[in-house]
């Protein structure tokens, strides 16, 4: 088995163990189409944000009311990629943004990003998050879809050490390792997904 195939398999298994949904894509266009599709297929894009169906205190409830429509955010993409995504979204009536996350603190349906690297042994995405827009996009969204180029896969975290060092030396910097969706087991050790951040993480493996 080629080394690249082995890393892809390892990554897929490990990411799957933390409930990430891993799918191969052949092109960036396919990734964009996938992302727009899950709004419909998976009921991801709902007007009501997760938790807003509950009886909440007045202040928390008020924040729920701030969301006007289905929102997809994709900060930091190359210009033509964002334009393509925006066009796809427009066809489906989805509001597509690349900035202004702070106007959507109540919630965002989908955050779309491209990872800087992946760590196979833990199914981890490495994301340069120095842009506040990108950090918020990946935290405020209900579903995070992230494209991972298979050429950026490394086996262990130590294999990513130089990369981490390079980012941290170039401060101010904010680098994130993301492994699965936001989770907690703080009540009776029962696993619950999506306590603060995304409820779902989709990783689209792009062979390059």
């Amino acid at each position: 088995m080629s080394d690249s195939k082995r890393l892809v398999d390892l990554f897929t298994v490990k990411a799957g163990l933390v409930s990430a949904i891993v799918a191969p894509v052949k092109s960036l266009d396919e990734a964009l189409a996938y992302t727009v599709d899950i709004c419909e297929k998976k009921d991801a894009c709902q007007i009501l944000m997760s938790g807003c169906e509950s009886d909440l205190s007045t202040g928390a409830g008020a924040l729920c009311d701030e969301k006007p429509s289905k929102v997809m955010v994709a900060p930091g993409l190359p210009g033509e990629t964002f334009a393509a995504l925006k066009a796809l979204c427009a066809d489906r009536g989805i509001h597509c943004l690349d900035s202004g996350m702070r106007k959507h603190l109540g919630g965002i349906d989908i955050g779309f990003t491209i990872a800087d690297a992946g760590i196979a042994e833990t199914g981890t995405l490495v994301l340069d998050s120095r842009s506040e827009e990108l950090r918020l996009a990946t935290m405020l969204c209900e579903v995070h879809v992230c494209v991972l180029r298979t050429s950026t896969l490394r086996e262990t975290s130590f294999d990513a050490e130089e990369l981490v060092r390079a980012y941290c030396k170039d401060g101010p910097a904010y680098l994130a390792f993301v492994t699965g969706a936001s989770r907690t087991a703080d009540i009776e050790r029962v696993l619950a997904i999506g306590v603060h951040g995304p409820l779902e993480l989709h990783i689209l493996l792009l062979e390059d």
Partner: protein
Amino acid sequence: MQNARDLKQYKGELTGALNNEFLRTAMDNFAMAYRVSRANAFKGMDLDGLIADIAKGKDYAMAHMEELLEQFTRNAKALGVTVHVAKTAHEANEIIGRIAQKANVKRIVKSKSMTAEETLLNHHLEDLGLEVTETDLGEWIIQLRHEGPTHMVMPAIHLSRDQVADLFSEVTGAKQSNDIQKLVKVARRELRRKYVEADMGISGGNFAIAETGTIALCTNEGNARLVTTLPRVHVALVGLDKLTPSINDALRVIRALPRNATGQAITSYVSWITGPGECQSSANGKKEMHVVFLDNGRRAIAKDPLFSSVLRCIRCGACANVCPVYRLVGGHQLGHIYIGAIGLILTYFYHGREKAKNLVQNCINCGACKAVCAGGIDLPRLIKEVHARIQDEEGHPLQSQLLAKVLKSRKLFHALLRSAKAVQRPVTGGTPYLRHLPMIFAKDQGFRALPAIAETPFRDRFEAIKPRVSKPKLRVALFSGCVQDFVYPEQAEAAVKILARHNVAVEYPMDQSCCGLPVQMMGERESSRSVAAQNVAAFDPASCDYILTLCASCASHLKHGYPDILAGDSRLEVKVRQFADRVIDFSSFVHDVLKVKPEEFKKDGKKTTYHSPCHLCRGLNVTEAPRALMTIGGLEYLPADEEDVCCGFGGTYSMKFPELSAELLKKKLANAEKTGAELLLTDCPGCIMQLRGGLEAKGSAMQVRHMAEALAERLK
């Protein structure tokens, strides 16, 4: 939190915890599940190597704390971070309070930080009129309940979904169901609002990386990312022990931290924050960032030759996860703010003697914590050392002083045991148990029958049974320990019988005394040292090949305890090393050295299960030999659940905390009986005292034997 005035009040609180049904079930389930998930998480990894590397890395960092602090500060400052160093908890709180006031902050969100718990930061900030909200779900829950954490990683593990539902009903003003998934979503929305409103975020720091000036944070919920992103001010409160030279060090610790904490390969999020980045809610578009380092004794601890190793702690909580006492009573009783074995030690240094004095006595010395510690800290030893220091500072209790005095003189000790035999007749009723102990001795001891002193101690029988060997293949000196000398001499006799078959010469040095573990456990250092020196002198280690003992506790104390206890005594250093090198336990000797064979034994296939003594399986790392011996000896071995969990004896522990001892014994016996075995074997007379006493008290037919007896009885 420890508020008990004295041991009596503390024991009252322990009883309260024991009676908490929910807590007991939750803790049991957790302990069982943790075992499995941790093993899976480390599968295929060189765990010992990883632990050794972490220990080495942390030791290096702590020895270079000032240089790392200087390097971190330089790198962080260059990026615009303000770095503060607080000498005390109070000073740290004041610094953070001032930062908040200067930046005109009204509302604060926090991500989980044990260091902020240590300084009781929230109280200080609230007194300044600031609104502080914890955003880690467990921390938020306990903040709303106005209590401290009961676990370092799962702070609200002591609470049920019903309690959380009631709490959230209060917070939202609307009735909430006890559906955990729904409760988590309610927290998501309620806390989202808090992030939006906050002007300042406070985080802890798993690492302060000197080479880049980076603060790295591990969370599962992702709350630390929001806390460090949305508000315009970020303050990281970090212990000086989190300083580490490089990214490589952090990556190494991250391999162990989540695996050891919860059995996860990695936390959902690891954030590497280097300097203040862009922040759109700030007037100048840039975050205001502060790092507050907390000393609070860490600098002094780093210089202490014995205690510096506590700064290796990576706050994974594993020492609590495996502690049998924690499992019974939970973190409010087995900790002040820091929980579990490490908590017993840190409480003394960070919160003082008054908070630590009862706590440190509640260690049964089973070594389970040491065996899982990611930093390889010798936790049980340091707990005993803290106990001893507190006694030195506050005065020794009468009982402990008395025992210390008696043990220091072998002749006095043995004379007392002999006279006890003479006067015990009225309380034994002719049985091998003390049946009618006056209440003063038997308080809360009803859960087990205590054995009587034997008619003739082993030392008086030895000459008659000593093997007569002309050309011995090995020379063994026997260390019987008090229990086999005076209570169960038949166990040592059984061993001699097997040794004689294999042409082994046996000596029994008559000047040997108690190994000293009981006084070590009670914090009587002086007596412990004196007894150790007497025993080393009694054995002339160069004159024998092995020092054999049938007591696992004695063996591990002689082998690992003595060199520490007698360290620095130049007259004994060589001898104690020789002595320790020769110490071996019975099962290892018979299996690994004598290499006994099945054809030596009559096979009867008796259904047998095993209790693995703490000081054998963890103290000496012996696990295979006794299991193999049962099969070689012709027995049918039926493994029991949790064979390596403490039986609750713990020597003097079971006298001090009988209620806890009884609970541990109950679990142990239930697991043994569940196998359907008729015979329960073990390798420690202390455990036998506990197990046999428990079975006798409940009228069970299961028999308890030492491995040596089971084998000797079956010799052809």
